[in-house]
Amino acid sequence: MINQLESEMAIPTTMNAAGREVPLEVNGKPAIPFKGVGKHKPFGNKYGPPIPSCSDFPDDGNKVVATLEEALLRCGIRDGMTISTHHHLRDGDLISNRIFELAAVMGVKDLVWFPSASFPCNDPIMKYLEDGTINRIEGSMNGPLGRFVSEGRMKGTAVLRSHGGRVQAIQDGDVKIDIAVLVAPSADAFGNARGTGGKSACGVLGYAKADSMYADKVIVVTDNLVDLPCLPAEIEGNYVDYVVVVDRIGIPEKIVSGTTRITKSPDRLLIAELTASFLEKSGILRDGVTMQAGAGGTSLAIAVFIHEILKSKGWKSKFGFGGSTKYMVEMLEQGQMGYILDAQAFDLDAVLSAGRNPNHIPYPVYNAYNYHSKGNLTSMMDIMILGATEVDLNFNGNVVTHSDGYLLHGIGGWQNCLHARNVILPLPLFRDRIPVIVDEVTTLCGPGELIDVVITERGIAINPLREDLIESVRNSGLPLRTIKELKDEAENICGKPSRPAFDDKIVAAIKWVDGTVIDVVRKIKQ
């Protein structure tokens, strides 16, 4: 215990460019403090996995092995390895937990779980964090898992990355994946795999691409083995070591999650209406616009209102980037959207559309979000609708912790999307009694210079850096306020909140899109 304490104390920290105190070392590896947006220049070459040879694989292309356990053993699973999974099966994933259940039986210790996101269905993982099978999670923490980490109960330090940051970390070799276990709704015996077809269809497999290319060993797990070739092959068989066929990879009704229902809350609808109105009056919404909106109830309502405006004006969006939903599919099918470029299908309509519409195209996050590439899609988006748990007076945003200091959400694509031309955050001014606009965010996830507009039910605040936007709506009749006015109104209604108390112990590091550390989360003081 004393040793552990000493080793924690010994980690040097520094103030990063955002004024946050961050460690120079995370989980024994050196960490670079955030230097400012676009300031960190990477050097060297991309990571390269070991060179395989066809001579080690069957000529008939049949890589099927009997069980997941056998596949893991053949991959040489051992202490300290990093195991990656993707989250396209969302809350219906039956395989991720199974990997660690098997590893625990085998007596393997100190694994690193590197998921592209976790869901409530992954809560049983806590058991393997407690018994030492898993040392730490490098990925999103939700609900009880977040609570577990916030209370300092995980052995290693969590590392939270955006979807693009995850690809960056894999590509740059910041994270070396030993075994990627990639579930696939359809696959052939060679390992070609896609997100459509079968009983567990999830639409697309965008988040699994980088894992398949960079992992030392790749296992594809499917419940729908199809004849070669399984096309379009989002995961190419040439990267795959083993194929495992199981009865069920997921629970269909949970793969398509309930998050894609349009909000019924009159207050949220009001925010959505105000957002659409802002987009129209500012001139951001126009013929040929490019856009992305999430799958939250408010975002969906905004998509519906935007659709109405496009229709009434006879305009067409050039393309929308998904997370695709029913509402985006409607735009595509009714002629108000040229293409859906899709990393992730959020609901059944989107899954079906991806399967049948040639203009609904799988588009890996790999290409869309990675900051260490030769440009990416997000900076070309005109409209970016995002959420946040908190925004502060400098427009800094938080998405990972709540105001009480608990880690409760992943970053998702949020940080990556901040590079869009117009980043709009439609938010309630307060949730129950908790103000959303605060003096200073509890955890910094996105620098304020990238957040352009905050739209609440009680007014719209535009970042003073966006003089052009302020000018565009000056005489629009929209309820324009300063961010300070909104914060004061929230506190007037809710009262001034106290701040949570933290220990010194760092429980999670928050990475910026370039792999630098933008902030940390500390253990909640009990």
């Binding site: 949730r431 009694r433 009262g495 106290s498």
Partner: protein, 409 residues
């Protein structure tokens, strides 16, 4: 009053912005507060201090107060604690939260009352943002939407809401209960600047007069100078027959409303979307209101999912002469407002009348003429109201007169 233990408020997985309070008087041991809150980290200390302050205000020295809080705002917590205290302690004192200055703002007799949004009087989560939906009035309801056993605590909550919630310019209305309970309700709302009182299931002018005299009594007692207006609601066959008498029974009455759910029950007919079964009653109410010089207001439309049916309902209501309608969901407000809003032709005509009046004034003429037609003063007033309304609804710019070339023919 020898009760030692009482409970008020609401808790549960679906409850938001409310709290449940349980108070037990004890003989010794001082004040013990057991707080369980969703916002513990951010407001735990502040809630505890609030509890101590209120118990101290009511002179309670020994008690156990348990609070299960789902993110209630301070005025809600105060209301819940005061209500629980009043169940175990006999007191006439009131723990009043500060009143917002803009909530003292008086209303006007002839303001528009197109849409009035009903908000249940014991559900804080529905009150807090009620003013955001641009309804002309917000009705804090103490009557049908409050369970009988919750009536006492709802009064205190509504009182605090009148003092603390910003309704963004909506007329602050309260629907009181019938009879004696309704008169008691007035003690909790009149001193706190309610603009308008709705009298439910009204069948006689006496009922209105009782409310009126109670209001006068309270205004004298508290030295209040704000006008308080009345809107009786006719909800029975007997009420319909008495509607004209009711409509002119008090100077405070500015509108009379019809409630079709209860009326159709009383008539023994089924309420239909077209409403032919209540055509007589509605026409009679409109006529009574116009004869008495007040606004006739139509019943609420209960299918909150069917906006198209609501729109048609509003149009038929407007064609009968109604000047407003109740709303039971915020999403109904814009549909109702647009329905009662003046159409383009009406606006054009009103603009011409207003300009003709301006012209007559400029020329020092006492008579306003539009073409060969003489225009009466009330028509000018009405036209001006239509123009004002069009401006308020964003159908006409403020400075519309500048955009119109002066006709010189």
């Amino acid at each position: 009053m020898n009760k030692r233990l009482a409970v008020t408020g609401n808790s549960g997985p679906k409850v938001r912005s409310d709290c449940q309070t349980e108070l037990e008087l004890t003989d010794d041991g001082g004040i013990v507060i057991e707080l369980q809150s969703k916002v513990q980290v951010l407001y735990g200390e502040s809630i505890k201090n609030q509890c101590l302050e209120i118990l101290d205000f009511f002179g309670i020295r020994n008690a156990v107060l348990k609070i299960t809080d789902s993110g209630a705002l301070p005025f809600v917590i105060s209301a819940r604690i005061e209500a629980v205290v009043k169940q175990v302690v006999d007191t006439v004192n009131e723990f009043l939260p500060e009143i917002r200055e803009d909530n003292k703002c008086p209303s006007k007799r002839d303001r528009f009352r197109f849409s009035r949004l009903y908000v249940p009087g014991n559900t804080p989560s529905m009150m807090i943002n009620a003013g955001l939906h641009s309804a002309d009035g917000i009705i804090l309801d103490l009557e049908d939407s409050v369970a009988p056993e919750k009536k006492d605590e709802a009064r205190i909550l509504v009182r605090n809401a009148l003092r603390q919630i910003c309704f963004y310019g909506a007329e602050r209305m309260v629907r009181i209960n019938q009879g004696e309970r309704g008169l008691k309700d007035l003690e909790y709302v009149i001193p706190h600047y309610a603009n308008l009182i709705l009298i439910p299931k009204c069948e006689s002018s006496e009922e209105v007069k009782r409310v009126e005299s109670k209001i006068h009594e309270l205004r004298n007692l508290y030295h209040l100078y704000n006008e308080v207006y009345l809107m009786p609601i006719i909800e029975s066959a007997a009420g319909v027959e008495m509607s004209f008498e009711i409509a002119r029974s008090s100077d405070l009455i500015v509108a009379i409303a019809i409630g079709l759910e209860d009326l159709t029950a009383d008539l023994g007919v089924t309420r239909t979307k077209e409403g032919s079964e209540t055509l007589y009653a509605r026409a009679r109410i409109v006529n009574a209101a116009k004869a008495a010089g007040i606004q006739p207001i139509d019943s609420v439309f209960s299918d909150v999912g069917d906006m198209e049916a609501l729109r048609l309902n509003v149009l038929s209501s407007k064609s009968l002469g109604f000047e407003g309608m109740g709303c039971i969901h915020p999403r109904q407000v814009p549909v109702v407002r647009q329905g009662f809003a003046p159409g383009p032709e009406e606006i054009e005509k009103s603009k011409k009348i207003v300009l003709a009046y301006d012209e007559a004034r400029r020329n020092g003429l006492g008579v306003v003429a539009l073409g060969t037609k003489m225009i009466d003063q009330p028509v000018v007033v009405r036209a001006q109201r239509t123009v004002d309304l069009a401006i308020r609804l964003g159908l006409l710019p403020d400075n519309w007169k500048n955009d119109i070339p002066i006709e010189t023919e």
